[in-house]
């Protein structure tokens, strides 16, 4: 009997990346819409296959990343994407595995400048998916205002981001994934309305 020494995945670098990118694009163009990335995440290993799938799609040696809450995910992302580990304040992508890391990640994330607002972090947050109330969101991509059920991680992250009072176009963009394979994005212009 031989033990498998290397972790294997069957995420296709060309076709699964393309499919996941289009789902990400659909999500960020239509905040409040939940897209299903389970089929693609299931092709990856580890405790955070949804976060890893997003990393495989968007990261490479031209990007820096930082992680809250999982050394093994950090090692997997570095090995599979060749992206470099960065301090949180310099990272293009920040992955948050547990909601305990949300506040610090958002407070330290780079938010671009008025001249170069794209030089800001995308914060990708693992949420447990359990409903913790609802929020009404409004902004580009949303027809009027739409109320959606949200997890505690989404609530915490949106409250924390609003507290930063960024001067638009500065800001950070948020992506949430759940272990059920759900993905939702809340770009910087989308706000919680009372």
């Amino acid at each position: 009997m031989t033990w498998q020494l290397t972790k294997k995945h069957n995420f296709d670098a060309v076709f699964d990346s393309q499919k996941l990118f289009r789902l990400l694009l659909e999500a960020i163009s239509n905040p409040t819409r939940i897209v299903d990335i389970k089929e693609i995440a299931d092709k990856l290993f580890g405790s955070y296959p949804e976060l890893l799938a997003v990393a495989m799609t968007l990261l490479d040696n031209e990007t820096g990343f930082s992680i809250y809450g999982s050394d093994s995910l950090s090692a997997d992302i570095a090995a599979l994407t060749l992206a470099r580990r960065e301090a949180v304040s310099a990272a293009d992508f920040i992955f948050v595995c547990d909601k305990s890391g949300i506040q610090e990640a958002i407070e330290k994330a780079k938010y671009g400048t008025l001249a170069q607002p794209h030089k800001s972090a995308t914060v990708v947050i693992q949420s447990d998916g359990a409903q913790a109330g609802s929020l009404t969101l409004s902004g580009p991509g949303i027809a009027g205002a739409v109320e959606i059920p949200v997890s505690q991680a989404v609530k915490d992250a949106l409250a924390c981001r609003a507290a930063q009072n960024y001067e638009y176009p500065q800001g950070i963009d948020l992506i949430f994934v759940s272990d059920k394979g759900e993905l939702m994005a809340v770009p910087r212009l989308v706000k919680v309305v009372e």
């Binding site: 990346s17 968007l58 580009p140 176009p169 963009d173």
Partner: protein, 280 residues
Amino acid sequence: MNSNYNYAFLDEGSKREIRRSVLKAVAIPGYQVPFGSRELPIGRGWGTGGIQLTLSLIGPADTLKVIDQGSDESVNAVNIKKFVGLCTDVETTNDTRKATLIQTRHRIPEIPLRNGQILVLQVPIPEPLRIVEPCEEATKKMHAEKDYAPMWLQLYESLVKYKKVTIPTEYPCMVEGRYMMNPSPIPKFDNPKLHRAECLYLFGAGREKKIYAIPPHTEVVSLAFDDIPFERESFAGKKCRLCGSENTYLDEIFDPQTGERFFQCSDTSYCQEVRRHVSE
């Protein structure tokens, strides 16, 4: 599919960079995100920015439509379809409703696009402020400071001088009240289609290496003054000689043989559809 090429021609690193830029562009509507434009084996004037966007977006589930000046059958449109087909094997269509991905130059289709469809527009000069400020560093600063006064002044002066705004295409608009944006060389007729649309608009400028976007349900307002509203081209009293439409953008065609002038729909697939319905 020609297997000497990577799927969709571009290498995966190039696609990833463009994809990251696209997500940023959607998050900051109307802002021009820089990207590292690649050389493509196609002629100048084909709109490499639009093609690079299409190649970074496209996958086996897509159906592609390509139009140039409203026509699916123009040499440019056919060549782009051939090129993308050669390196992806995706289905192509002339039917606006069947397309998931539409690459275009100079027009937005007459049929309202639905949510889920993506319109990729080719842009030669992405900077709306270029007509008042030649220097790139200066226009960047103007966008950063939302200093659009020189552009408003230019509009005002043309109103005083010519009694109307003398910008036929690339008529600038404000996106979400923050960024002034060049909608690409579409006629003013198409500008209102950008406002609170259902579909996603992506703009690609290859030579200037910029990508920008208008997501669905985004406020896009063509520049105007309180007392002088924005006006589209008017085709009042004219109609398409082929399908009879009175509500489409019409091309004026001159027949040098007969000296006759007539009008027909610039959106050829729409025109054909109307004629099909009439004959049924």
